[in-house]
Amino acid sequence: MIGRAARSEHVSGWLFVLPAVALIGLFGIVPIIWGAILSLQENDLLTPPTWVGLDNYRTLIHDPVFRASIHRTIVYTLLFVPLSVGGALAIAVLLNARIRFSRFYRTAVFIPVATSTVATGIIFNWLLEPTYGVVNYLLSFVGLGPYGFFQDPDQAMYSIVAMTVWGWLGFDVIVYMAALQGVPDELVEAAKLDGAGRWAIFRNVVFPLLSPTTLFLIVWSTINALQVFDEIYVTTRGGPLQATTVLVYYLFNQAFELFHGGYAAAIAYVLFLITLVFSILQLWVGNRRVYYS
């Protein structure tokens, strides 16, 4: 039996969260359900849809472009996550030291995160332009190049990795720096007294204390990497010769350029499954390796 007072508390509690629940429901849950329905239809988003059951998923299995796009997405993720998280850890440790102009460096590292993707894309398009670009011009002094970068099917994906690592590094650095502030001085001092060198302190004291942060960043970066789209849309547009057509780009192409709404929704669901598997795996490993003080 719930008392009168408790019940009215119950009601007002729901009222307080109503705005959030309504918004999340409308823009989060409803599209998820609608996407599932859509993936079972042939729907050009123009004319009334027809039910096709699991046909879209069956077609996906035999679609060579889809398979190639999964492969590319995973290659991208396996490059992006270690480079951005590992790079961020190194930079955060350096910036955490008491050095001159450290505020300036911190700002410099964070600026790319705050820059709009479109602006980043335009800048990189010009920097990496094969004929007139600054990067090839500078490389020519050390006898390298010229490279095709975004315009070479064999180099485009690596160029995207470089650009996105540059763009996202700052976020990871900020998170790591916040975590580094939380490492207790007495533990570091105790390790010093025990005769540990700089590397030993980092390896055995600091790094384990950062492990919850590392796990968070790996999971978060992986989800972002699996869904990479904007950076590709503003630079290579999935090309050249589909070399940068990752899953979400292929989804976009199917839904909004070829009007295969149902097929695109099925791709979205496969992406959801891949993300789920990756996240469960990482959390499972994480629960064994992460040290929560």
Partner: protein, 423 residues
Amino acid sequence: MKRVVSLVLPLLVLLLAAASCGGGGSSNGVVNITVWHGYEDVEGKAINDAAKRFNATHPKIHVTVQNYGNADYALQKVLTAIRGGAEPDIAYLYGSWAANIARSPAAVDLAPLIQSDPSINWNDFWPAERQAVQVGPKIIGVPALVDNLALVYNKKLFDQAGISYPSDNWTWDDFRAAAKKLTNTSTKQFGWAYVNDASEDTVWRFDALLWQAGGDILNSDNTKAEFNSPAGVKAATLLQQMATVDHSVYLDSGNGNYANLFNSGKIAMLFTGPWDLSSFTDVNYGVQILPGDLNHQTISGPDQWVMFDKGSARKQAAWTFLKWFTSPQQSLQWSLATGDLPIRQSTTQLPQYATYTKKYPGAATFVLNEANAAKARPVIANYNEVSQAMGQAIQAVLLGKAQPQQALDQAAQKVDSVLASGQ
């Protein structure tokens, strides 16, 4: 009960607020209609001015023009609006979407209106414009804009290289030889530029070459690919030779660098349309019809005003506005304000037309060139898949990753299976 009310009330408020945003409709005898467009700057001002002129002379109709942002995404926006019942009376849509929008029941088939109302003078629109809005028996829009590709060249670079300017009987060989002479690797100067992003921008320039060599994109009933014919291979081979043997082509990745580079004297020739001329402020350029093989055909890229059914009174008002807005006199006003080509043939007979050709040098050649736009791209709902397959093939050839015949055959195979499945 109280709980239910507290849940329902905010929702009701939301719904009411949404409903009142709909707009349009009729009040005290004036019919309100809405026109969606993506015009900016000069053109944006021109369309606002046109609406003002129309409203001043038509007291029974009130036109509101609204900018929907980038026209590249207009189809998605209009489709979303149709789902919510908030579509405008008229929207500016790209020609390549004609077959897609024709499948929506909300779009008005203009064929009966055109037949019963000779005052539209339908045949006065250019042939390429009329072909582009014809979807089977339906006519899905009124021409809004017409473009075509011509050869735009930098006179100074031709003078420096000691080559005479392109003539109207230039062959592909003349063109290729000139491009080679106008290329200088040490100064990073190129004879020609080609948009190589595998999009429709890549494909339509190829279409012109294909037609010049006597080929076609699909067969006459749009059931099979034909671009891998000997004519198609010949056209793709020209691209291949220039890009991978002569290296006389700057390959633009699709971000429009070619226009800046032409304007800074790094590129000597372009296949481009009148929309680019206003950005060529720093070079003395000339305009000539495209070089030819069997003929000098060009390709036209018409866009259209599509009407949506919002009840008979609004439909009539929208039709009245479109007739007025696309009349020869208004078309000339538009061209004078924006530099766009006149959308009607009879506009060129108006006395003020001379003012237009004087104000926009090069425009006259583009208008004459419209007569070379003999063929149109197939108006079919899955054209985008045809375009995508061709785009990949042409890109592979330009990058030297595939031979012309092999690349086109592969694309044709893909297109055939798409056309056969009727998707």
